[in-house]
Symmetry: C2
Subunit: 167 residues, 2 copies
């Protein structure tokens, strides 16, 4: 086994999105057990000017799919940001995992020096493959999954670091 | 440039610990500006059965130093868990970064298949180098740094994802 760009990203993102899915499942069960409208949890935030749970899940998925597609030099699959239920968030995660699973190692491996340039939110972004992966894509995935975890944890859902790390 | 075990861990951990240090600095300044005893922030939690800020910072540091030392097959530097001020947390981060900076690429590179076994908290832990790095060490570092970020963010400290990602 040798570490590679693909190994560092695609199986890692799939693993963490599956953990996020399991965490959200516990959130959904918590809402049902407590007879709480699920939109209360879905719209919950840690600070009033911080993104709610839905948006954290959307961006976690988007970080994984955009990062992978840009390194693979293929079009980024576009998903509408319209989820309002746990079931819809699960669908988004599944669609993201399906896309990640369609990527072959040779599409990502060897892209350490790839120049990546794009325009987003009125800004030019310029990256090089390896730092893009290590200092942008992976931290973004972990940041938004941990934020989703923290929102549910703060609201009383019984989850622990084991759920975040998975098997 | 080719991705390697060292590149995926040591510079990444140093970069993220520096970001954590900058985030804590903003927390300290916030406490001063609001005339809040810094121990209020230091002991703040997102849930009453979740670790407070201090412990999140301690474990972020410990995940980085233990993960690196185990892959380098050297003794893990031991730090006492006795920080009660922002200044002391900064010292712990500095000591951790100093240790990480003492590690040479050849001490970590090529350790993909290394068998790692240790006993901790009444449990045997058995890992293989690459999954240990990708599925245990890195997620732990990101999890605890994001948790520290989220505690400060929840308490009103003006930080954003840019502070988490750094330059």
């Amino acid at each position: 086994m040798t570490i590679s760009m693909y190994q560092s990203l695609v199986p890692v993102a799939i693993h963490n999105l599956k953990n996020l899915s399991a965490i959200l499942k516990k959130g959904e069960e918590f809402a049902k057990a407590k007879k709480i409208d699920e939109t209360v949890l879905i719209n919950s935030r840690l600070a009033c000017d911080m993104f709610p749970l839905t948006r954290q899940v959307q961006i976690a998925c988007d970080s994984a799919k955009a990062g992978t597609a840009r390194l693979a030099q293929i079009e980024i699959p576009s998903f509408e940001d319209n989820e309002t239920t746990f079931a819809q968030l699960q669908e988004r995660i599944t669609k993201t995992i399906n896309f990640l699973q369609s990527i072959k190692p040779e599409q990502i491996d060897g892209k350490e020096d790839l120049k990546i340039s794009y325009h987003q939110r009125n800004k030019d972004h310029n990256f090089i493959g390896q730092p893009y992966l290590l200092n942008y894509v992976l931290p973004n995935i972990y940041f938004h999954i941990t934020a989703a975890y923290a929102i549910l944890r703060h609201n009383g859902v019984e989850i622990g670091k084991k759920d975040f790390l998975g098997n």
